[in-house]
Symmetry: C2
Subunit: 199 residues, 2 copies
Amino acid sequence: MKSAYHHGDLREQLIESALTIIQESGVEGLSLRKLALQVGVSRTAPYHHFKDKHELLCALVALGFNKLTEQTSEVLAEHKQDLAVQFRRYFDVYIDFAVSNPEVYELMFSRLIWKSEQVSEQLHQVAYPCFTAYVAQVKTWQKQGLLTHDESSLRLTQVSWGMMHGIARLLIDGIYVEEKAISEMCACAVNVLLNKAVQ
Amino acid sequence: MKSAYHHGDLREQLIESALTIIQESGVEGLSLRKLALQVGVSRTAPYHHFKDKHELLCALVALGFNKLTEQTSEVLAEHKQDLAVQFRRYFDVYIDFAVSNPEVYELMFSRLIWKSEQVSEQLHQVAYPCFTAYVAQVKTWQKQGLLTHDESSLRLTQVSWGMMHGIARLLIDGIYVEEKAISEMCACAVNVLLNKAVQ
DNA sequence: CGCTTAATTTTGACACTGTCAAGATTGTCG
DNA sequence: CGACAATCTTGACAGTGTCAAAATTAAGCG
């Protein structure tokens, strides 16, 4: 058994443990003391790796955005398929990410994070690429005729992202409860967003 | 100055004070003790009117749903205007409610409320009418040709509500920060949702 | 009026939380 | 080896939700 001091990867172990805790008990079930206890370290040890509880949460959020960006950009990288199918895939992957990681997803878009004065620069740097990649893709889809040209790319991005986000939240917050209907809802959403003029 | 005991409207005064507190400090800034202190009563007095902090929050949520239902049904009651205008009005009023009452709106759709075992029957009774009224209206709009008939009313309701909800949350959670763009976003959202076939 | 009873509020207490200050332990580098 | 910085611990404080028991008041009934 190695010594408790300087075991080197405490920061990562804290993050890992924090993730499993919020997956089981939600964000409000995460206390720094229980977390430290579970990792086998004293109550205030985490404070040498995170200034705050808030900073720990930000680290979880950053990981979440990286994962989401990774999963969505995989979809965007597939060039060889039908455009509508690709769009549908993006929607599905996004919703699936949210439903599979509800607590992290909630944190990623929570007011706790984004309305605090200290939205770290690091956080912007992981969140923005996720959004800007989507904006760029919307522009492409517009050029390809999949999405309408009657609306500005930015507005269309905001509105369609809003739709994904809204459905995701209504699902993970327990307002939309039929898990079976997710697929149908995604299908309907995609149909609504597609440019009807070319059909 | 009347006595502190039995001042009769403590319950309502608690709710009222709680509302102003969360409007100023957010939901996480609301503690039962400070609330009691502010109302001029001892720390545990609220527990004779609300079993829980959770139950107090549920009361705020119920008020919120009543207010939202009231404001949206006003729009639905106006029969004499253009259908697209009415739809747009609904969207605007909904978003405006969320932006004007961000903390209450967040509570109304929070997992804290809907994923707790005790989603009171009373809560369902105020939340459902708000939703079912919208479902009914979507059906009507479909019959009138404003919305497409290619999708089921339920799915179209869920998806369009999801869009409103998503945009609302991205606004009040500080992800969409341009307040000026709200109107343009609503316009774009409505355009996307309208049935293009008849244009 | 007075007595009983229920409704309401208070005081005291407990476990839990985030966080700070001061001290203890360990690795690192000259 | 010795100084220094990094890391961890112990002790402490204010604040939280909530329960139990006691105190206070209102209401109903003779």
